[in-house]
Subunit: 403 residues, 2 copies
Amino acid sequence: MQTELSVAQAERLILQTVPIWPAEPLALDAAAGRVLRQNVLAERDLPPYDRATMDGIAIVWRSWSSGQREFPLEGVQSAGQAPGALSGAGVAWRIATGAAIPEGADTVVPVERLVETNGGIRMDDAYRPKRGQFIHRQASDRRAGALLLKEGQRIGGVEMALLSANGVARPRVAPDPRIALVSTGDELVGLDSRPEGWQVRSSNGPAMSALLKRHGFGRVAAMHAPDDPEALAERIREALSESDAMVLSGGVSKGARDFVPGVLTEMGTRPALHRVRQRPGFPLWFGMHGEKPVFGLPGNPVSSLVCLRRYVIPALGKAQGARPATAAYATFTKAVTFKPALTWFLPVRLSTSNEGQLLAQPRQTNTSGDFASLAQTDGFAQLPANRSHFPAGATARIFRWNG
Amino acid sequence: MQTELSVAQAERLILQTVPIWPAEPLALDAAAGRVLRQNVLAERDLPPYDRATMDGIAIVWRSWSSGQREFPLEGVQSAGQAPGALSGAGVAWRIATGAAIPEGADTVVPVERLVETNGGIRMDDAYRPKRGQFIHRQASDRRAGALLLKEGQRIGGVEMALLSANGVARPRVAPDPRIALVSTGDELVGLDSRPEGWQVRSSNGPAMSALLKRHGFGRVAAMHAPDDPEALAERIREALSESDAMVLSGGVSKGARDFVPGVLTEMGTRPALHRVRQRPGFPLWFGMHGEKPVFGLPGNPVSSLVCLRRYVIPALGKAQGARPATAAYATFTKAVTFKPALTWFLPVRLSTSNEGQLLAQPRQTNTSGDFASLAQTDGFAQLPANRSHFPAGATARIFRWNG
């Protein structure tokens, strides 16, 4: 087991240790939010036919260029109809956006430039159509077989459009893992009772569950365990049997009643990591129970949310086969100082200047228990351990709570 | 009805026209993702008691400052236990993180600085504790009654932590509206059939549904309507009876078979807006059916996703009582040119430089039907109508698909 690693070392160790869950085929209408585990190729040319992009008439451009301005209407080409054919130059077909261009036609004149006449249609004299205009040519965007989506993307609106349009009725996707959240701490009471003066309300389960939901994890079960080794072991055994990954909060420090690492190890969970040179979140614990990742997060609310976002969510994404997010950087709006030789996770509010500078406004917390200060934040900055003063204008890597 | 408005005018008109849906109380464990419709005040002081932030011993600082290094252990203060009391200076209580400080003690010495002795505990000689250290003082973060969360925030991890910790068992939240998506177009076929050469697969329903889901809207029903006024009216009537808002795609242009505006108006939907000086999305239509917002989006996939993100999602957020997102700006990595006197929505890939500059890499599409090009994008830039050339380094407002 590794101890007191740097943030970079801890991150690498965790990402290298988690398994990659096997992909599964899923009906497309249930696949929003899942990680795509296959490439998607163009089923047909895109567009699949020469397609009108305006409502109007389809004509032969040479009939206009040779002076013709009034056209007999020979047919109507609607969207969804097999394309007809012009009998020759000099005639027009009415055509709708999305319809296939009738054979022989090479130009679309939009309805705004036309007036109806007796038995035909007349173009605006001043209008000068370009040959081929308002036709989205077959295969002009992509050829059949072209790579459209690479595996590892989470399926949002754009990905869903491409999957649907290319007939991928059952894409291969990563599973939505069952995640057990176990919060420990005898000082915690639930929503249904009134806390005594020395108790606090339990908040880590609901908070972590909500954050996981924002990141696309929908199968989260939150439960509580008392600070007692036997009862804790029982709870953990139960939680592990019904989940693919487990996240505990509390009980990972060095105190006499911090039973989590010991209980897990005794149950056969292989410890991989304990303690990371960071604040908040120093006591972080990570191990594997068989093929199931197990995270032991410190119990205070700021530490648990920061560690969830910084380590657990990227690790679950890795296990889903998601491509890692690219690092983002922001500029501090005011100076901050932090003396300890630890990486510092500092909550920030993010905005952009009119010049496109991503700005981080630090929201210093009193302690790692001061989660009221998180209310106005969008995420946190990661400040390196080897510096203690960060002037206004300094840049730092940032992590968004929700992105 | 307003026509050919600017983007800013259209946005203002839509946001001023949508209703604010009434708030409802909801069990907290179902409230993740909802918009909070009440302020949240601190239920008690935060923290509610003088709280140990390290495992170790609680002592009276003056006993150390007067030279004492070894302490008899008089008691154990665990988390969740009513605080005990020191019998006087010169003794120590073992204490756990999260526990209440026993009466009389004023300083916590962490376990790393201690060794057990026969019947007592001894501090590291070189260690110099500060008076009051490792005690998170009652009310030092917030006093009881302090404002913690303002109405209008969407409930994510941080908000859920504060709601739980302050005992808000049934917060008032905005409803999760039922949204009907109706896509029109006789050229569209579903996933279950093989498209003919002149047909395309339907993709707007699934794509818009996935994008709405990413923005927290979970009750979306997608359906298709043929390009026939009577069947369309029937479909719309059905969709309206089962939804709080409706989004149509296709059928809003000037073509002979663009029945959507006419059918809606005939059904009593009050038109408010038709056509916006923008590309893509020029034919955008908006009206109110009773108290239900109805959006008619152009049918091609790029237009419908852009209009959904630019107008529909902010309008639904407004109706939920969500605070508007602050505008974000990014810098172009290369020059782009767009001649028409229209606002241009240009798909972009976003990243940040190491210096914290938010960068937009334009992904020019061939046409508004070229949605394969959207695959690698994070959102789109909004480029003003009164300029045609935007050099590398120019800044523009951006909209993230998912944020």
